[in-house]
């Protein structure tokens, strides 16, 4: 009688490590499906769609690409709402920037553990490698993730399994430890060699991490948002807008988001019912949104924002530029301003 085929779910980020980890387990005859969590901060997806200049090269979603290479199903799970608590209150704190990697990994493995229980799968695979990432992938944090996620010995890390205690799938003989690996440290060489032996090419190699929270500039914008609002919270629209345009905060209570090219202007114009906006009319220029903390803007604020917006238009050297101000209700008025001189635009205003 044939033994039942075991089933595993692999966390697929779209990077090389999770691709290899899933493949290593498939090679041992296990049925593998992928799971990918969308937090709102993922590098995968949107940004490339926003910026027009990238349109020539169609953007692929690497998690989907990985699943297709492996020939496995991929389940994409929206965790935007639940993930907020991970970003806002990480019990293990942040990494170098606003990245709560340890809590994040624990949370994702916990969700995967719930998923295998609901779907009758046997265990979970991640592409973690000891010593690869300073915060979440250390010898002492590996057990933390297994414990706090509740996955315990159902969590298999094939790329460094030989450095870790035997998991249940190994004890039960579903997986042969000898056919897994002993990778460690920051080097990428063993992964690249393994990819070659499996015949994978053209895989993604993200530099920082899997999400925008490891990006210094992006992290600063989140801090600025929380500081100016006086609360640590966000909506999906907030974190999307942090990826787009120039963010300039000339006063504590409002900032201006200025499109840098047509793709961004189009994207921002989708928000004109949520924010007041400015657009130069006498000269070609960007669309700017005004994000004010309490929703209020004085005439003086609008004047200042219009001068700054005009400075980024074709009329930047003109004496006068006409700018159309539109409030959230869609009521417009025209104002005439002198574009702000670059020397007057305080560096500290750039978020």
């Amino acid at each position: 009688m044939a033994t039942t085929q075991r089933k595993a779910v692999a966390l697929i980020s779209g990077g090389l490590d999770s691709l290899l980890a899933a493949k290593a387990v498939m090679e041992q005859g296990v049925h593998v499906e992928g799971i990918n969590f969308y937090t709102g901060f993922c590098v995968e997806g949107h940004t490339h769609a926003i910026r027009k200049k990238d349109k020539a090269k169609p953007k692929r979603n690497n998690a989907l690409w990985v699943a297709e290479q492996l020939g496995i199903k991929l389940h994409i799970v929206d965790i935007i709402e639940e993930y907020k608590d991970v970003v806002i209150n990480p019990s293990h704190g942040y990494g170098q920037h606003m990245n709560p990697c340890l809590d994040c990994k624990g949370f994702m493995v916990k969700k995967a553990h719930e998923w295998i229980q609901e779907n009758n799968f046997d265990f979970i695979i991640t592409g973690e490698v000891i010593g690869q990432r300073p915060m979440s992938q250390r010898k002492d944090t590996m057990p933390v993730i297994a414990r706090e996620s509740g996955a315990g010995d159902l969590l298999v890390r094939p790329l460094c399994a030989q450095h870790l205690p035997a998991t249940l799938p190994e004890q039960e003989g579903w997986l042969d430890r000898e056919q897994m690996f002993d990778f460690s440290g920051r080097t990428r060489k063993p992964q690249m060699a393994l990819a070659e032996s499996y015949g994978f090419e053209d895989y993604a190699q993200p530099a920082g991490g899997c999400c925008f929270l490891t990006d210094e500039k992006y992290s600063k914008k989140i801090s600025d948002l929380w500081e100016s609002r006086g609360v640590r919270d966000y909506e999906l629209d907030d974190i999307m807008l942090l990826k787009v345009g120039r963010h300039i905060r000339p006063k504590k209570h409002f900032k201006i988001i200025i499109g840098r090219e047509e793709g961004e202007n189009n994207f921002l114009s989708g928000y004109r019912k949520m924010f007041a906006s400015l657009k130069t009319t006498s000269h070609a220029g960007p669309l700017a949104l005004l994000d004010s903390v309490n929703g209020e803007l004085s005439d003086e604020d609008i004047q200042l924002a219009a001068q700054i917006t005009a400075r980024y238009s074709q009329g930047r050297t003109a004496d006068k530029v006409e700018v159309e101000f539109t409030n959230k209700q869609g009521v417009s008025k025209l104002i005439e301003v002198t574009p702000m001189a670059p020397s007057k635009l305080d560096e500290a205003w750039h978020v």
Partner: protein
């Protein structure tokens, strides 16, 4: 076999894919789902998702900033 529509306008990828996935999960083999999106990334991502999960894209078009993709639901 029924035809359904899904409005995924203004959502950025991968949200249109997630909405498509969740809607398809409720449908039967042979049903069709017409998804309207504004993120051109969906032109790559929805077909890729279909190939992986055994569904078929029967038409896709892009016009005036709107992408319309019709998916035929495959075997569960």
């Amino acid at each position: 076999m029924s035809h359904y529509t899904l409005d995924a306008k203004r959502l950025m990828c991968p949200m249109p894919v997630i909405r498509t996935q969740d809607k398809v999960a409720e449908l039967k083999t042979g049903d069709t789902l017409e998804v309207t999106c504004t993120d051109p990334g969906a032109l790559n991502d929805i077909p890729a998702w279909c190939r992986i999960n055994g569904h078929v894209v029967i038409s896709s078009s892009e016009e005036k900033g709107e992408v319309i993709i019709t998916v035929k639901v495959g075997e569960a």
